[in-house]
């Protein structure tokens, strides 16, 4: 199915947010996830289902002044 990840449309077969994150090969440690502009705590990722057309933002803190 098609979902929008960090502004790009991608094809994904994952059913959960956790699945999507692993699929992207991202280290979860520093990760922050928004599903349709709502923040999802990491503990909830594996139970959070994603569906066609969802918008996902994966963010993290970086150095800044």
């Amino acid at each position: 199915m098609q979902i929008n990840l960090n502004g790009k449309n991608i094809e994904s077969g994952c059913k959960t947010l956790m699945g999507l994150v692993s699929e992207q090969g991202l280290d979860t440690k520093a990760l922050i996830a928004e599903l349709n502009f709502e923040l999802i705590k990491q503990t909830a990722w594996k139970d959070t289902l994603i569906k066609e057309g969802d918008t996902v933002e994966l963010l993290s803190f970086v150095g800044g002044g």
């Binding site: 520093a30 928004e34 923040l39 994966l58 963010l59 993290s60 150095g63 800044g64 002044g65």
Partner: protein, 260 residues
Amino acid sequence: MIEKQKDALVLGDTEFKSRLFTGTGKFASRDFITPMLEASQSQMITVALRRVDSSEKGDNILDYIPKSVTLLPNTSGARTAQEAVRIARIAREAGCGNFIKIEVITDMQYLLPHNHETLLATEILAKEGFVVLPYMMPDITVAKQLYDAGAAAVMPLGSPIGTNRGLEMKPMIKMIIETSKIPVVVDAGIGRPSQAAEAMEMGADAVLVNTAIATSKDPILAGKAFAYAVKAGRMAYLSSMADEKNKASASSPLTGFLRK
């Protein structure tokens, strides 16, 4: 202005013994951050929020910051009040606490802040219980509006970010310090300890220094240098030194050595 007797800076419910705020940007390696914080004894440090991309090494910058240090997420990247508000909310929900440095910039050449969008974001976030520290162009009228909007402090810039030119805006900052009912933190442009001391001497309540520390050849020593300078400037302010004079006055008796 702070209360003199007990010289601590209070923002929100937090009391800061150190009046040097630092930042996590521009370090050659994140490994400098922890020892720099130790050396400088800074108790507040800024971080930014961005989309990840798979290329980045995934370690967490927050792991380099001791729990005792207050996180100050900034809204860098925001070009409107709405974007700043959204970043602030994410940062808080992500567990960074409720301090926020509002930074809204549309001038991509000199990276100078947009005062009016900053004001709008301050109004919204202060209502939501954030401890709002707005980064601003030194403007006495806007400083007053930010106070009315619920800002916890104002953070006028000394000179454009990263220039190390120090207190180019000194006269305007001075007027803000004179009239502000909330703490004044000089942010951006401070490139030398002497400039940090100068800001404190004129009555600033704190300074925020990132570039000058992070880009020095020895960020740990540099952090310590700024810590000393901020203390020196604060002490000078509290010991109320004499003003500049037009006429010279001898420090030794003016009589000639063997004259009357």
